[in-house]
Amino acid sequence: MNAKKNGNKELPKHTISIYVANKPGVLMRVAQVFARRGFNIDSLVVSESQDSRFSRMTIVSTGDAETLEQIIKQVSKLVDVLHAKDHSGEDVIEREYALFKVETPTEKRTEVLQIVEHFKGQTLDFGEDYLLIGISGATEKIDASFELFKKYGILEVVRSGKMLMARGREET
């Protein structure tokens, strides 16, 4: 009923996929729908789709479900948006890619490389006291590797943001 604010309670994360016409300003229009309702965008991936006239956006955002329902409707209403869908809780393929630059003194190198191997990551560059590692996988996996690397000192991290695709022949 009444839009209740959840106070300080943990708010759920949502993954929203939006299919848009590739027109200037469309990203601003979509972003504004979130910003106006005080929703932070945690991650955003935009790229051309199979048809160059259209783009795919995958947005991860945090907030209460009722406001999110409004946001999706308002986004769907935008003239340049073909469709928008919340895929949270659905069985979909989700992937993220992350680059880590980890503090790695020589004596720790083996330990860190074991972690990289465990996560099926790759060492992309290294120096005397660091490793540059690339890892792909579900967000939880990236989060887990992040936690482990923290112990050694993460100099930098760059994450691609979550991408998602519906299974089977269903449209994302």
Partner: protein, 584 residues
Amino acid sequence: METKSLSGAEVLIECLKEQNVEYIWGIPGGVTIPIYDALVDSGIKLILVRHEQGAMHAAEGYARATGRPGVVCVTSGPGATNTVTGLLNAYMDSAPVIVITGQTVTSMLGKDAFQEGDIFGMTLPVVKHSYLVKDANDLPRVMKEAFYIAQTGRPGPVHIDIPKDVATSPCTVPLNAEMDLPGYKPRDLEDFDREEVERIAGALRRSKRPVLYVGHGAVISNACSELMKLATTLHAPVVNTLLGKGAFPEDHELSLGMFGMHGTVYANKAVSECDLIFSIGGRWDDRITGKLSEFCVDAVKIHIDIDPAEINKIIRPDYYVIGDAKHVLRELNKHISRLDTDDWWRKIEKWRNKFPLKCSKKGGLKVPYIVDTLYRLTKGEAIIVTDVGQHQMWTAQFYKVHKNRSWISSGGAGTMGFGFPAALGAQFGRPNELVVAIVGDGGFQMTMSELATMMNNNLPVKIIVMENRYLGMVRQWQELFFDNRLSGVDLTGNPNFALIAKAYGCKSFRIRRNADVERTLKEAIEYKGPCLIWAELIKEDNVFPMVPAGAPLSKMIISPPKSAPTEIAAKPAKRRRKPRSEEK
């Protein structure tokens, strides 16, 4: 095709002609000179206003009086930013307005050129859609799309930014361009959930105390005859919002008039005690629901709206249909029959007799008596356009609107300064009807420079300036909820409005006491040309009934308190250090 030789500006004008545009409101500037030049021999009438805000409200007044889009053309930078208030107003009240702004040449975009302003970026939240046109060859398509988007589905304003070089460069494509709107598919009017309509009929059948709630959507879709059939067949009471006035004749015995913050007691009581409330193009705005958690808690809620985003936005309806009100009601009317509402009506009649709207001549010259007299003299047939404030609410209470599209008021945005220019637009659109602008002394002074526009075009609008020498509505809130600590509401320094009129060559009348009202209004209405009626009111009067902001409808203050005003405000006064943000 010989279109080869046309410039962007000429093509733009051709496209407007194709859309049967009669008028363009605006003020030119450096970057729009090519467009204004193309207008010269076009046959489209250019209406030069005195401020771009006036152009916007005039275009909206025209659009709302006729149902056809109003078109504005202004220059870049400050000309464009002056349209933003009008865009917000049109956006909030779902009015089809097309705004064309000039822009600096494309090669200078983003380089802080003279009078460059990112109006595309600035207006994104207040437009239904917008364009920055970078190639003259896109113009035929953009113009076609703009008019289509503005008028279809839930109407709204569309903005088109045109750099000067685009207006001057040749357009080499044919005028009959294809639209390219893969993401915009307004529903076919016959496409709605007919099974849900039958379920609604079932819910109505089970109802003992129904209320039909008429919103602006019913006005826009022109659902009048369907609504009449629905209400009379069911024998159900009808209430309307501020913007829903006119879709169902308010003088009809089934009409309880306006509900909400300043609604009638009987309308609010009916809504509070109904067992079913049925919104027809209404968006459950906070000004009509009052405190939401106590609004119609046990009633079955039904919602018809053309905009899917309105469903579940404020309340969760038990039944809803996404569709055009007129078409949905036409279908619904096939499935309904008279309800047994006799007990319900007995109750309502009791309230109607006990709590009528009162307009007395006691205590000096006041708005209700003036509006009531105007209503009698014009038989509810005039097009009434109001500004924002106390006079707006009193006019809504006392002027019962009989015809659709004959009530124009700033609802969602509550824009002071809207009324007078909007009335000019309405008169442009409906030249043979009586248009009356009812404005406050505060709001009128925001856009009264359009007196020049009125006189130049000899628009026979009757302006009634309700002068109480206060920003009355804010003063009322301060009196009731802030211990009468007046702050920033005193309009000392008002001009002599008769001299203002005279300065523009406009005839004026003056009303100083009740005895003047009938005679003067009659004379003014019979006067053939434009005129200003200056009503010098008593300074302090309050609009009642009133539901304090955030209170439930049942906590309505019915009539002026006999005791000191602070007493009735005991509850809200506790919060007086924290002013509410939702000022009208």
